[in-house]
């Protein structure tokens, strides 16, 4: 009888130890002993995950082509010519694809004046786990810090939550805990974009109940204070469905993010926010993807918006940080009732 009980006692002890770790972790902050252990193992796992990721990248490419082949047909045919060209020069298809992604990313960062650190995705959280997360192969030694914005080709990917020396963890914009201050292209209407765990759908809530909101409208980041966790002007996505009528307390819409986080391989971590709010410059630059012709006049800096936002003071000299969030004052059109959420709050709430 006693023989039979020993395994159970051991199991009970192990489970109790594990559960007390959960309790300790819930109470501890990032600088506690547990935080340090996590940071050390993160640094140790960085190279391991990087190696695994690069060794297995042919397998990954093969399987993703099998499972998600349909929607990629167009891209494939477009890239085929380029591939052939580069193959002649001795590059593998994998290299070619990465080069293309990197090129697009650099074009985006130039349009927005973001200073970025390019990075590879080396791991991803499990679908059935908690949260939508990625691991990047850059860490504190590359200048990456928590709360930095992460871009991918097409737009916003998420923001950094924790860093070790050799790796960093990104929470994707589709995670259900993420809330981003967003601004409609051109008009300057602001609202909140919140993740809900879906890779193709996010909620968009317009602050102004009478604001114009149409299917096809494009949304960029409004920008957080100091550019953390979100720098201004990064394309988030496009409105695909509008619910509610003008005049309701808040207008809700469904937004489809430009970046599908599960297919991202190359990202850029924004090390420094732009000195001036790029407004819609990054959107305009996006030649590929979902470009929707707008009836509104193309906004050029200074004339585009009825709101006294950052662009109203383009000669305000280099205000290195916070130009977008500090320059915004509540608009005359903002309703007083709902206006209890000040415009600056959009930036605050971005985390």
């Amino acid at each position: 009888m006693r023989e039979n009980r020993r395994p159970r006692v051991i199991l009970a002890v192990l489970v109790l130890v594990a559960l007390s770790l959960v309790l300790i972790d819930l109470r501890a902050d990032a600088n506690g002993p547990l935080g340090r252990v996590k940071s050390l193992t993160g640094a140790a796992f960085g190279p391991i995950e990087r190696a695994t990721s690069s060794i297995t990248s042919p397998i990954r490419g093969f399987v993703t082509n099998l499972t998600g082949g349909g929607e990629k047909e167009a891209q494939i045919s477009a890239l085929e010519a380029e591939v052939a060209q580069l193959r002649a020069a001795g590059a593998s298809p994998e290299t070619t694809r990465r080069l293309g992604e990197m090129n697009d990313l650099l074009r985006m960062s130039r349009a927005g004046q973001y200073k970025i650190m390019p990075a590879n995705v080396i791991a991803e959280g499990a679908t059935q786990g908690f949260g939508h997360t990625l691991t990047l192969d850059v860490g504190s030694r590359d200048g990456v810090a928590a709360d930095m914005t992460v871009l991918a080709v097409g737009g916003l990917a998420g923001h950094v939550v924790s860093v070790s020396r050799t790796s960093s963890v990104v929470v994707l914009l589709t995670d259900a805990t993420v809330s981003i201050g967003g601004r409609l292209e051109g008009a300057g209407e602001i609202g909140f974009v919140t993740g809900k765990g879906s890779e193709t759908q996010m909620d968009f809530q317009l602050l102004d109940p009478y604001g114009a909101l149409e299917i096809g409208d494009r949304v960029v980041t409004f920008g957080s204070k100091g550019g953390r966790p979100f720098v201004p002007g990064v394309p988030i996505g496009q409105i695909v469905d509008v619910s509610g009528t003008p005049g309701q307390l808040t207008r809700m819409a469904t937004l489809r993010p430009y970046v599908n986080p599960s297919t991202v391989n190359v990202v850029g971590v924004v090390l420094e926010p732009p000195r001036e709010n790029p407004r819609d410059a990054v959107l305009m630059d996006r030649g590929s993807g979902v470009t929707i012709p707008r009836s509104l006049p193309i906004p050029t800096v200074g004339q585009a918006t009825p709101m006294p936002t950052g662009s109203a003071a383009p000669n305000d000299a280099p205000a290195p940080s916070g130009t977008p969030s500090t320059a915004v004052t509540p608009t005359p059109r903002a309703p007083t009732g709902d206006g209890a959420v000040p415009a600056g709050g959009a930036a605050q709430a971005a985390q």
Binding site: P7, I10, A18, V22, T52, S53, R60, A123, T135
Partner: protein, 169 residues
């Protein structure tokens, strides 16, 4: 426990964790991410019994909780994996090593693990738990786990026999 066996366990756990987060989770397979670590833990449980199973499960769970990009509750996976390893050990002892029973138990544990994780997340009020896909995830997780187990349990058993020819089962 010989040093060689400890090294074998440590290496296979690290490899399993790395392959799971860097390869399997990024394949974009329908439903859940295949839980390779769970299968490896249960394989050790089948071969070495409930005590070793729960210890290996505990270690594997800690590794999964520590390896980036884990953002779950540190320690929770360790508790769940320890139970899974224990269950595998008990199943092996009671069934006397019938393959079908072992595979069924892997499916059951993988199915239950997904549900239990979602229940716990709901109980602590985590906004990130979505009940919509949970059922599909538990089914696919069970299927993937059985497929992986059919490959991995024999390998673990063979290596284990080689290290200690006269041991157990």
């Amino acid at each position: 426990m010989t040093p060689a066996r400890l090294v074998l366990i440590a290496v296979s756990l690290v490899v399993a964790v790395a392959v799971q987060v860097s390869l399997l989770s990024r394949l974009g397979l329908p439903g859940a991410t295949p839980d390779l670590v769970l299968v490896v833990v249960m394989a050790f449980g089948f071969v070495r019994g409930p005590v070793a199973g729960s210890a290996v499960g505990f270690a594997a769970g800690l590794l999964l909780d520590l390896a980036p990009p884990s953002v779950g509750y540190f320690g929770l996976t360790a508790a769940l994996m320890a139970i899974a390893g224990f269950a595998a050990g008990v199943v092996a002892e009671r069934s006397g090593g019938v393959v079908v029973v072992a595979l069924l138990s892997v499916a059951l544990v993988a199915f239950g693990l997904t549900i239990v994780r979602a229940v716990i997340a709901t109980l602590v009020g985590d906004p990130r738990v979505l009940w919509g896909p949970v059922f599909a995830q538990s089914i696919t997780s069970a299927v993937y786990s059985v497929l992986l187990a059919a490959l991995i349990v024999p390998v673990v058993a063979a290596i284990d026999r080689k290290l200690e020819p006269r041991a157990g089962l």
